[in-house]
Amino acid sequence: MKFRQRFYLAEVLIGLGVTAAHFFVNLGRHTAHHVFGRKTVPGAVTFQYPEERRPYSPRLRSLHRLVRREDGSPRCVACMMCETVCPAHCIYIVAAEHPNQDIEKYPERFDIDLGKCVFCGYCVEACPEDAIRMDTGILEFSSYSRLGMIYTKETLLALEPAGPDGTPRSPISIPPDRRP
């Protein structure tokens, strides 16, 4: 070590200069932000999470949704591809006869157990009808019970795709048992 480093005091002063510079620059930015309303340069890198979300990538795999036809019924034809490919066995489908002969089948039940789901996205890739997607941008779906983690067809059909920077556009449904 050089003498200057062994002596410690000069190095301490340099370090203090760095941190003090950060302090005063950020303080000035916060003042500009809160007092003068200039919000061009943020004073902190923090995202105030529940109110502010950081932008998500469009490739993000978030909560599933079932894509609707124009009449609002699911596009899914209950071919069981997703149920078969799912490595976590978290999809449960009950098929039923569709009144339209060309469509043949529709899911009477379509449940996803999110407590088991590993978010691999295989179901989305396996689907021949583009009927299931993982683009809602919703990441908050915890529950106080295992039952609350099972999302049914009606819930999944009601979800909307996320906005351009990944902000969810559908209301995040909170199951009753999630409220403490």
Partner: protein, 370 residues
């Protein structure tokens, strides 16, 4: 002063001011610690505690902390010494609180035919009293370490004792230079001495004779040793959150809170001492007893209570600035290892402060004649 009701009231007021000042500063420091570190590290810091939706930059967090600590379980380990275990935090916090009593926060206030010294207790050896009280704090820490019946607590207590002794010695030795320059152990006299101009034959009346100008090496040594005496980062190996939790490992609830408070109050005391000894205490530059007398000849006459008020405000401001600086150091430097801090204390700070005393003595003799 005769023990009349008015005299008693004034004495009570002086003590109450100091107590309130120290406790408020100590409480505020928990907020400053969070917010200042956040601003230094490009973060926002604690801002969620609110009353009726009012957040006030997180100023309610100390309040929320106090409520949390008071409502937590007060746990007593099975093999702990009940009396010592309970007594330890009180010894720690009381010795830190009373240490501020001898530090003056203003000159005399002349009102109603009385001369009130703005100081909780007038002592002619005030510095020694402050050191005695600061050293008493180590007893609380050692008691806590011993009474917890926990090896880590004992280790922390030993480390704290070793650290505080090495720091106290360096503090005492570095102060001697100041006491020699101003020729007194009375804090009030030292601060009055700092109002005089520094080297008037060279600088005129421009530079006040503050301790930081006359005793710069002592200032640096004192600040380093003072940080060690508060047991905070970079000298926090008695706690060492990542290795041994330290002497308060078995404490919970408000007893733990009192140890934390003692640390913060000690920071305020060190800041107050630094202000009083090196930054001119309550002195405002160019402010005499009857108003401003600027070195370029202008004068502004002020009433005596107004002068006293300005001096008290100056003292509070200086203490706040020193607290800020101590926090800056605390959030910049990493922790010393135990042996590194011991080497710094006994082989660095202590000999250097003795050297400073000798050099000061030589200069004083050469300057004033024997």
């Amino acid at each position: 002063m005769t023990p009349t009701m008015a005299g008693l009231g004034i004495a009570f007021g002086r003590v109450a001011f100091v107590m309130l000042f120290v406790l408020t500063m100590g409480g505020l420091l928990t907020w400053v610690e969070r917010k200042q570190s956040a601003v230094m590290q490009d973060r926002i810091g604690a801002n969620r505690a609110s009353i009726f939706g009012l957040r006030l930059l997180g100023l309610f967090h100390p309040l929320a902390d106090a409520i949390k600590m008071l409502t937590k379980e007060d746990f007593l380990p099975a093999r702990a010494d009940r009396t010592l275990f309970t007594l330890a935090p009180f010894v720690s916090v009381v010795s830190a609180l009373v240490a501020f009593a001898a530090i003056p926060f203003g000159d005399v206030l002349r009102a109603g035919g009385r001369e009130i010294p703005l100081q909780a207790v007038t002592l002619n050896a005030g510095i020694l009293y402050v050191f005695a009280m600061l050293s008493l704090g180590v007893f609380g820490v050692m008691m806590a370490g011993w009474a917890s019946a926990n090896n880590y607590a004992l280790l922390g207590g030993q480390r704290a004792a070793a650290l505080m002794i090495s720091a106290e010695v360096a503090i005492g030795a570095s102060i001697m230079g100041v006491a020699m320059v101003y020729g007194s152990l009375d804090m009030m006299e030292i601060i009055r001495g700092q109002g005089a101009p520094l080297l008037p034959q060279w600088f005129g009346d421009w530079i006040p004779k503050w301790g930081i100008f006359t005793q710069l090496p002592a200032f640096i040594l004192f600040l380093a040793a003072g940080m060690a005496a508060t047991k905070r980062i970079p000298f926090d190996f008695p706690e060492g959150e990542s290795e041994i939790i330290g002497y308060f490992v078995e404490y919970s609830g408000m007893k733990f809170g009192m140890f934390m408070m003692a640390d913060f109050v000690e920071t305020v005391v060190i800041a107050g001492l630094t202000t009083a000894l090196f930054l001119g205490g309550w002195q405002v530059p160019y402010l005499a007893g009857d108003g401003f007398r600027f070195p370029w000849g202008a004068t502004v006459a002020l009433a005596q209570p107004l002068v006293a008020l300005l001096q008290v405000l100056a003292f509070c401001l200086k203490v706040a600035v020193v607290c800020w600086f101590l926090m800056l150091i605390r959030w910049t430097l990493p922790r010393f290892r135990y042996d590194q801090a011991m080497r710094l204390g006994w082989l660095g700070l202590f000999p250097l402060s003795i050297l400073n005393v000798a050099a000061t003595g030589l200069v004083l003799v050469a300057w004033r004649g024997p």
